[in-house]
Structures are given as C-alpha cells and as structure tokens.
Assembly symmetry: C2
Homo-oligomer: 205 residues x 2
DNA sequence: ACCTGAACACCGTTCAAGT
DNA sequence: ACCTGAACACCGTTCAAGT
C-alpha cells in the first residue's frame, strides 16, 4: 500500500468503467484493504479524483508536430491531440468535469504557438487562434464520448419529415456521422482561416 | 400530485442546482409527499430524468432564421441555438450525458437544410455541413458550461514559460477567453467554408 | 506511521399495507 | 388509483481503537 498504488488502481477503474465505478468500497476491495485505509493515504474521494486528473495532466506531455508548412504542422498537432484524448475518453470526461481542460492543453498550445510565430502570428491573434483550434478538438472529443456511450446514434422518437424534397439528405442524416471527416472539415476550416500560408505555398498554389 | 407536477419540480431542481441535486428524497420534500409516492408516478429516477430531457427536447421548438443571405441566415440559426442552450446549461448537460443531443438539434438542422437548399447544397454535402455547424455549437456550449462551474479560469499549477519571446501572447492567455469572439470565429470559418455565396453577394463583394 | 471495525447520515428502490 | 412506512443494499466519511 502507498498513495501511488491507490491512485494507480483508481485511475484504472475510472479508465475502464467511468468515474461512477470508482466507489471507495470497490476500490478497497481491489486493493485488498479496509475502506477506511484509503482515507489515510488520499484524504477523501474528491482529493483522489484530483490526484487522478493531476496525473493525466502531467502525462499529456509534449506532442511533436509533423509536416513542413505551418498549416500542416498545426493540423498535425490538433490531430495528435485528438487521438491522445480519444484513447482515454473517461479520463478526459473527468478532467472536463473538474475544469482541468486548460491545464491539459497547455503543452499543445505551446507547440502551436511556436508554429504560429513562424508565420508571423503573435499576441492576441495567436491566443485567439490557439484557443479556437483547441476548442474544436475538445468539443469534438466530448461529443464523440457521448455518442460512444449513449443509446442509438439515430434520433429515437423524432423523424425527419417524410415529405422532404431531398431524400439523399434524409438518408445521409439517418446514418451515423463520419466523425473523422467531421473533425477534419472543421479543423481545415479553422486552420485555413487562422494560419497564414507560407511563402513557399503561395508561390506554387 | 400528478406525473406532470413531479416532472415540473424535478426540472426546476436540475435547472437550478444540477442533476446531482435531484435526489428522490429532496424531491419528495419539495412535493410534500412521501419518497415512495414518486415511484408510483414516474417509475424511478432514471425514467424521471428521461422525462425531464424529453420535455426539453420538445421545448426546443423551431428557431427562425434572420438575415437576407444564406450565410447570414445559417449564422443566425447557430447563434440563436447557442443562446437557447446557454440559458439552461444544466439541462443541456443532462441531455448530453443521455445522448439526446441529436434529438435536440433536429429542428435547427431542418431550418439550416432549407437555407442550404436555397444555395444549391444538398444530399451528403448538406448533411456534413449541418453536422459540422451544430457540432460547433454544442462543443462551444459544453465547454462554456465547464468553464462556468470549474475553479479558476486560469491554469492553476502550470505556467507558461517565462522566457517566452511573445509577452503579449502570454498575457492574452492569462486572461479568460472571450467566448463570444471564440464562438463567432469558428462559426464564421465554418460557414465561410460550407455555405456558398449567393449571386447577389458575389456581384457586390 | 499505518490499518481496522463500528457507526452515522445519506442514497435509490421494493413491497406489503393502508385508504 | 394513489399514498405511506418499514426495510434493504448501497454510498462517503469520521473516529476511537488497535499494532
């Protein structure tokens, strides 16, 4: 037993079954210890969740961009961040509930800031661009997380009016969305609007 | 006592204090009735939450676009939807947790589809555009909801490196983001990429 | 310093019993 | 048809008591 082991097991429980599955009694069972022993190590459940999120934030580490142009590199950072978040949906949901999303994003935003600086975007403009792009990433991940759990993807009670003049649209909306395409679409729109072209790109369009 | 009154009071509790504040015992107190009486009317807590969300979905009604061009009208729909969602953050959080966001968005998406049709966007393209825009709206609202509750807006433990070459950026990131500007920025980028200009707009640019 | 067991105040839910 | 009270299995947390 140690504080670290408690946080380890707690993290695993949250990761696999969601925050609600982390009860002090279940945790004590997995640790092979009395419920009350946990309190000596971590204080209480709230502090334990804080510790879990703290570790996640620290683990986010630094993402490295790939590609040559600033647009490619910023895009790659956003995609890698999304991939990393998607791998642990319950944990990022927890981080979100506890208002720790900004902390988690710091490393990527730093990396993006460097790319923006290269193409002459700085100051308030850079801050707005960073935040718009990272907001797109979290927004997408949070939405997907709900879609992953929730019941049927297709609206249950309500139906698109049958008399619609655009049957192809109706059919497209009846199938679950292509989340990768959706994410890429929004990201490209943002990057296109916020990250200037480099000289090389402008020369050969 | 009636099923309607139970759902009324439950809705008020969730709206004001969040879903966690809706306990069967507290609800019974506000209703002036024994806890177990509630079960006769609504089944159980889960079904009660379903009923609350059902009512919200039905209440979303139809939003009317304003403006003349398709871009303006689509933009106005997204802005009005955001305003409506922001007015009841806890309830939309609940709808999100229960995977009912698509249901809630149906009316607006219908209205947007009409606007897109006017400028010749239909079928799969229209479906993708609709979903990209509404994803931006939910994403933004979900993020703001967390920001509203969570502790300090500014990252707690971590700090932007002090040696940064762009002090204006560091300062901009140290102040809470302008959420309206952030939302408008993303929305404009999306609408610009997805909704074609009308003839009139192209003539007088 | 670290762990246990009993105890308390809370949950959601069931069910027999009342009117 | 509608409501009550007792009861059950769960929570998180405190605290005196052990080693």
């Amino acid at each position: 037993m140690s504080r670290d082991r408690v946080v380890d097991v707690a993290t695993r429980l949250v990761e696999e079954h969601g925050p609600d599955a982390l009860t002090m009694r279940r945790l004590s069972q997995e640790l092979g210890v009395a419920v009350t022993a946990i309190y000596w190590h971590v204080g209480n459940r709230d502090a334990l969740l804080d510790a879990v999120v703290d570790r996640l934030v620290a683990d986010m580490g630094t993402l490295r961009p790939s590609g040559s142009s600033a647009r490619e590199r910023v895009t790659s950072l956003a995609e890698k961040l999304r991939a990393r978040l998607q791998a642990r949906p319950h944990l990022i949901g927890l981080a979100h509930e506890r208002g720790r999303i900004p902390d988690m994003f710091l490393p990527v935003e730093q990396a993006m800031a460097a790319e923006l600086a290269r193409v002459g975007v700085s100051g308030k403009d850079a801050a707005l661009a960073l935040r718009a792009i990272s907001a797109h990433v979290v927004g997408a991940v949070l939405l997907e997380r709900a879609a992953g759990r929730g019941g049927p993807e297709i609206p249950t009670g309500l139906v698109w009016p049958a008399d619609a003049s655009d049957p192809e649209l109706v059919e497209a909306l009846a199938t679950p969305p292509d989340r990768d395409a959706l994410f890429a679409l929004g990201l490209n729109a943002l990057v296109g609007a916020l990250v200037p072209l480099e000289d090389a790109e402008r020369a050969v369009p």
